[in-house]
Symmetry: none
Subunit: 403 residues, 2 copies
């Protein structure tokens, strides 16, 4: 299962076309032509999904039942073991001015090679009235994990809607002493992060070089540890996850799949897609199911970067060709977790393309991988929750009900 994050789009106002229609993606086109295609309503018609809820749905977990927030999945993705009652948050290294107005939500896409390992150390030395762990994830991404009792995931995000706006003060989203306590802890952490980071030599040097300093940690997606059924128990397939970003790795860890690390994956257009393709092919040797996630297509969509999205699609397409050339007797499923409108810079609920390639079902007349061609797909329009049962049947693993 190859999830190309935010692959599909709407018609771009300046181009009259979608990025998939403009990109040169011969391998994805061939896959769509030879395979069986359709549209997937990941959460349901008109329901906008995050990457977290979308991946839960795609893997057959009901996000309405199990989702507690993005934080826990992100934290699990860094290798931290989550216990019931813990509260986890996704964070960013970011840049604020002296009045805590957000200048860059990624501190200029700061990465570990630029010194965030040192930041991680001092951010674990802040005094908080709770046991906690702060850990770097990929690039500017990081996580905060609060342990113990009396905590709540019902608190708002520090990250405002847009750059230029002031950070949100953390407040409870539901009444309760636990949410108040958790808000106080988080506000303290954010203030202290600014105090220990703003005059750090690495940041002073960045400012001198015209780069954004990573002078604050902003949080979002707070949530308590969710309960997720083991993937093998659920589908009777030994699963592996090949992913760069913590969210997807975390989902792998939390569902008991093997999480395969690809050190050269960046989560951006420049990611080492081929290395991920190779890792996935290798994983197929001793797994029944491999989830290969690529993030590099979604990031430029959020940045409203049309050319970047096209470049990412074309680089992913090379990897798709490699995968197609190196499998036998394998069903390949290609989809997006959600559509991302590059004009809007955000996810939409438009159904995502879905391609099954390598099975024995009758192919349809789809000739290439675009949003429009999917309208003719033989699978028509199916729901996210039906995808895993469909895969089980297509690989002749489905149990028969009745005789």
């Amino acid at each position: 299962m190859i999830v190309i994050d935010g692959m599909s789009d709407r018609i771009l106002r300046d181009y009259g076309k979608t990025p998939l229609e403009m990109a040169n993606i011969p391998n994805l086109d061939r896959m769509a032509k030879e395979g069986l295609c359709g549209q997937l309503d990941v959460l349901g018609v008109g329901r906008r999904a995050g990457s977290d809820t979308a991946h839960l749905a795609i893997l057959g977990y009901d996000p309405h039942k199990v989702y507690t927030g993005r934080g826990p999945l992100e934290v699990a993705g860094t290798g931290i073991k989550l216990k019931p009652g813990d509260v986890s948050l996704r964070c960013n290294y970011a840049t604020v001015d002296d009045n805590f107005n957000l200048i860059s939500r990624t501190a200029g896409q700061i990465s570990e090679s630029e010194g965030t390992m040192e930041f991680e150390k001092i951010l674990n030395e802040i005094k908080l009235p709770v046991e906690y762990e702060f850990r770097n994830s990929l690039s500017y991404r990081c996580v905060l994990h609060l342990r113990g009792i009396g905590l709540s995931g019902d608190v708002c995000d520090a990250e405002p809607k847009r750059e230029g706006e002031a950070l949100n003060k953390i407040k409870p989203t539901k009444e309760g002493r636990e949410a108040e306590k958790t808000s106080e802890i988080l506000n303290k952490f954010i203030e202290e992060s600014n105090r220990v980071l703003k005059n750090h030599p690495i940041n002073l040097k960045r400012i001198k070089e015209g780069k954004f300093p990573a002078n604050v940690i902003i949080s979002r997606g707070a949530g308590r540890t969710p309960e997720l059924e083991n993937f093998y128990d659920k589908w009777k397939m030994k699963g592996a996850v090949v992913a760069g970003i913590g969210l997807i790795k975390g989902l792998g860890f939390m569902t008991g799949m093997d999480v395969i690390n690809v050190p050269t994956a960046t989560g951006y257009i420049d990611s080492d897609f081929m290395a991920k393709g190779r890792a996935a092919i290798k994983a197929l040797n001793d797994h029944d199911f491999v989830l290969l996630h690529v993030e590099g297509t979604d990031e430029p969509s959020h940045d409203r970067d049309v050319k970047g999205k096209i470049t990412a699609l074309e680089r992913v397409d090379e990897m798709i060709g490699y995968v197609m050339d190196n499998v036998s007797d394998t069903l390949i499923v290609v989809l997006a977790d959600h559509t991302t409108s590059t004009d809007l810079g955000d996810h939409t609920a438009d159904p995502t393309p879905l391609v099954l390639w390598g099975g024995d079902s009758v192919p349809d007349e789809v000739s290439k991988l675009t949003e429009k061609e999917m309208y003719k797909g033989g699978l028509h329009r199916i729901a996210g929750r039906d995808l895993m049962p469909l895969i089980l049947d297509q690989t002749n693993r489905a149990k028969k009900f009745g005789a």
Copy 2:
């Protein structure tokens, strides 16, 4: 409603086509061309159905609520009246070696004309610690019905997965004294069946003639009597069933439909399809709804017999032509209960073709009856539970909700 059992298929690896694509079926093609078509997910996307659960779903019963096993429907199909608490099993005349390894699961397709009437008699004389009835059904098919209290349907099948394997010892599938008792009774019946059959003169003669002796009874599909709402009460249509095999007849009996016997139906490629077509046309005189089931297409699929499946499709097609020529003001619905892959020899969850012919709804651009053409069908892809409401509306019987 004409159900062509296991009609649809996947792409055959040796042919690059499906049996429907290879068969010469001008009448079915004309029906698809003139009618309104689509795909039916009988139990849901990716959910593999047996013929029993499939027919329940098609007739508007929720198999997840009412299905207890294939046995009761098969037993009802022989005319036995089922009482609450009884346990029913579908059986086969079969051939085993001295170590109870299965040689032929049908005793070489043995039929009543070859002497199973005599077997039926002696199989009712076995001493069991429960009241029971053994009855022949169609060809090698037969049933066992246990009456009384303290019985359970939660026991495994005697029939192993494949010929060549040893029969399964009957064991409870759920813990409980009732399932243990039922297992003991069934093991005794199976052993005794071998004792009374193996040296029977008919079997000794079969062996001499190089035929498989019917030297054991193997059971499967154990289940307690289900509760099924009366078909007329449910849909306000007087219903009739024209079927050869016991399963479908039993469903007719248990839902209070008139079950029309066609003595020349065999359940195989050689069945008298035309006699069934005539019986259905006749039944339309005094019924609102006729279910015409043909089994002959599914059996060769299970036997991985491509040519046999094509022959069966072509013979069914002649009958379809007869039916089309002899109805007026009648909606004809053609579908499969499930797809059967002739390469796999088993059911798959691929949606089945669905054709509505003779109604006034706007036809689509489907030009023939194949799996691929159905992708363009105007009905798109609908669920099994929606079929009866659709039929009610197409025949102008649907109740309006609202004003």
